[in-house]
């Protein structure tokens, strides 16, 4: 990796990983409380 692009790419990788971890944690919580979330209506469009 060239020096100029190495730093931002590493940072972007970390951000992507961090976002994936948050999404994973939130998804697991959502699945645990699936029955609770199902009480709320959903809309079209």
């Amino acid at each position: 990796m060239n020096d100029e692009s190495a730093r931002p790419v590493r940072l972007l990788y970390i951000l992507l990983l961090w976002l994936t971890a948050i999404a994973l944690a939130a998804s697991i919580m959502g699945m645990v409380f699936e029955d609770f979330l199902a009480r709320f209506p959903t809309a079209a469009f």
Binding site: S5, A26, G30
Partner: protein, 622 residues
């Protein structure tokens, strides 16, 4: 007319619509010496930019007069053709060998074919879910001969949705006398194919490899579901067009050649204009474009690129500021009545998001990203990765943090999100597909390369087959189609239809109780929502008596609404006519209510906040 004929005519119509603008862009780029090295790439970029200019000019002129735009379009076609002939009269028209672009052309054509097959085979399709309201806007433009200002006769609410793509569909449908739904569906396939080409061009330039461009284009053409093959299912033409313009805008910022003198900023200016074009067709795509530019410039290691991206974003903001100001004011005024900041979308887990995007695409992308972590990233590919992080970040913010905050602030009483995070996820598929171009550059043995290619080809075949099976019935409602046309021909123009079915409003052009308004529109305004509250047959008869408007009831075929008179029946829906009484008859005529008991109709209640009566009114755009 056969499906193939309608499709070919729609394609010809779209090409005719874009031609004068594409030709003008092509000539201007030649005059300013701003052409790309490849002639075919130059023509392709001119065509995409031409579509953008059409939407921009179409919105601007049709806001005043649609017929004037049709005339101006014909004039521009004549002028641009004459200019092209005069400029090139002493040159021999030479087309370079097609061989270098043959593979990409095949992928682009294949992309269009797989997107068109579901509505080409079988009975005609009215379109995906959102086409229900898009086609209303298209039909309103054709009827009113200018942009739609309100949702009348279906809802007493102003239109805040951008209408650039609707002008395009209305133009083709009007000039070529084609059904708007055919043009709409064809446009999704056509611009899906154009997006495939644009992704290929962006990836090829970003990685400096034609094979990378092919990988990226093929992954978008045959693997990307949400934001790709899925557009026909939900009828997302404005999103498709908006993101196409955003992609070209990104390409211009990344690869626009620096020109001398007064043309130094030409690429940035063109990129900013394309952002404005995106705003004219879809607010959300414009927002994604701005996010991409801001995040890309933040992470870019090259100062010139950072400056170009910021300049293009700022110029786009400045040029669009009058429109944007009006739009923001309109949205702000109706924010409480729209679902923009209070959208009850189903909860999307990360697993669902991967399924929606296509697990194979995500797997290929992940493998490519893992293998490329130590590779030399170009500035362009960093810019694209930054765009993906921006979209993924916004998705997480809106889908999880905003939802959690709504849940906490309402003390567990409500759970909603804002700005439709699923669209953000769909738009993430664009940078994902561009970055799959890494696959061709990874150090791997010949066997490994062939294995990856075989898996991708098999996955693509399965995906395309699955999409065809899933979409082959989208918008194909023979019963509803017949009922809608029957209502149009056999009911008075001011009739109120109690109930609705898909495309009832577009087909019948009669007011229904459940008009399909998009999230951005004030669909919770009392003047719109009053019709949707449960009401008995008697209440609607009172409404009829009070307003003098005939009322018709829609019901499933097996349901009996006697003593009302059933006046239409097919295997999908039945239409019942509400008895219409004058004041004298009301006092004397007994009517049997839904519970079977005979009783006199009650006097009508105090009038609800009624919508203005329908088509008999003055044109809604004045």
């Amino acid at each position: 007319m056969s499906n193939a004929f309608q499709f070919v005519m729609s394609l010809a119509g779209i090409a005719y619509a874009i031609l004068p603008f594409a030709l003008s862009v092509w000539l201007l780029a030649g005059l300013w010496n701003a052409c790309d090295r490849s002639r075919y790439r130059n023509m392709f970029i001119s065509a995409v930019a031409g579509a953008g200019c059409f939407c921009l000019a179409g919105t601007a002129i049709s806001a005043w007069n649609f017929d004037l735009f049709i005339a101006a379009h014909a004039l521009l076609l004549g002028l641009s053709l004459s200019a092209a002939i005069i400029i090139n009269r002493k040159r021999r028209l030479v087309f370079p060998s097609l061989r270098p672009v043959a593979a990409m052309a095949a992928v682009v054509a294949g992309s269009g074919v797989v997107r068109a097959l579901p509505f080409l085979i079988g009975e005609p399709s009215l379109g995906g879910g959102d086409a229900r309201f898009h086609l209303i806007l298209v039909e309103k433009i054709i009827r009113d001969r200018c942009l739609a200002a309100s949702w009348l006769p279906f809802a007493q609410a102003a239109v805040s949705y951008p209408q650039g793509s609707h002008v395009l569909v209305a133009f083709v449908a009007d000039v070529f006398r084609l059904p708007p739904h055919w043009v709409f569906n064809t446009a999704i396939a056509f611009f899906g194919a154009m997006t495939t080409g644009m992704i290929g061009v962006l990836a090829a330039s970003s990685f400096g490899s034609r094979t990378s461009g092919l990988w990226a284009a093929a992954s978008y053409a045959f693997l990307a579901l949400q934001g790709g093959l899925d557009y026909h299912r939900w009828g997302g033409l404005p999103n498709c067009l908006g993101m196409l313009f955003v992609l070209l805008s990104v390409h211009l910022v990344l690869f626009g050649r620096p020109l001398p003198g007064a043309r130094a900023m030409l690429a940035e200016f063109a990129a900013s204009l394309l952002l404005v074009c995106a705003l004219m067709v879809h607010d959300y795509s414009w927002l994604c474009g701005m996010l991409w530019f801001l995040c890309g410039s933040f992470f870019s290691g090259r100062p010139t690129l950072r400056r170009s991206a910021l300049l293009a974003a700022a110029a786009g903001l400045l040029i669009a500021s009058p429109v944007l100001g009006l739009r923001v004011r309109q949205i702000w005024e109706t924010a409480g009545a729209s679902d923009l900041l209070r959208f009850h979308e189903p909860f999307i887990t990360i697993f669902q998001a991967v399924l929606n995007l296509n697990p194979l695409l995500v797997a290929i992308f992940t493998v490519a990203l893992l293998a490329a972590r130590r590779a030399a990233w170009t500035h362009a590919s960093v810019f694209v990765l930054a765009g993906l992080v921006a979209f993924a970040g916004c998705f997480v913010l809106l889908e999880y943090f905003y939802r959690a905050a709504a849940l906490a602030l309402s003390r567990g009483g409500d759970c909603f999100t804002a700005l439709t995070p699923s669209r953000m996820m769909a738009n993430a598929s664009y940078p994902i597909c561009v970055l799959t171009g890494w696959v061709s550059l990874l150090p791997a043995s010949r066997f490994a390369r062939r294995a990856i290619l075989a898996i991708a080809a098999l996955g693509a075949a399965m995906t395309v087959a699955g999409v065809f099976v899933a979409q082959r019935n989208v918008g194909k409602y023979r019963g509803y189609l017949e009922a809608g046309l029957w209502l149009r021909d056999n009911t008075p123009e001011n009739a109120m239809i109690v109930g609705s079915f898909p495309f009832a409003e577009y087909l019948s052009w009669r007011e229904t109780t459940h008009p399909p308004l998009p999230v951005s529109e004030p669909r919770r305004l009392p003047a719109v929502a009053w019709k949707q509250k449960p009401a008995s047959t008697e209440e609607w008869l009172s409404f009829s008596q009070f307003t003098g408007r005939p009322v018709y009831f829609l019901a499933p075929p097996e349901r009996d609404l006697a003593p009302l008179a059933r006046i239409y029946l097919n295997d999908a829906v039945a239409v019942w006519r509400g008895a219409f009484y004058d004041a004298h008859e009301m006092e004397t005529d007994p009517v049997r209510s839904s519970d079977g008991a005979h009783r006199t109709l009650p006097h009508p209640p105090a009038p609800p906040p009624l919508p203005a009566t329908t088509n008999a009114e003055e044109p809604s755009n004045e």
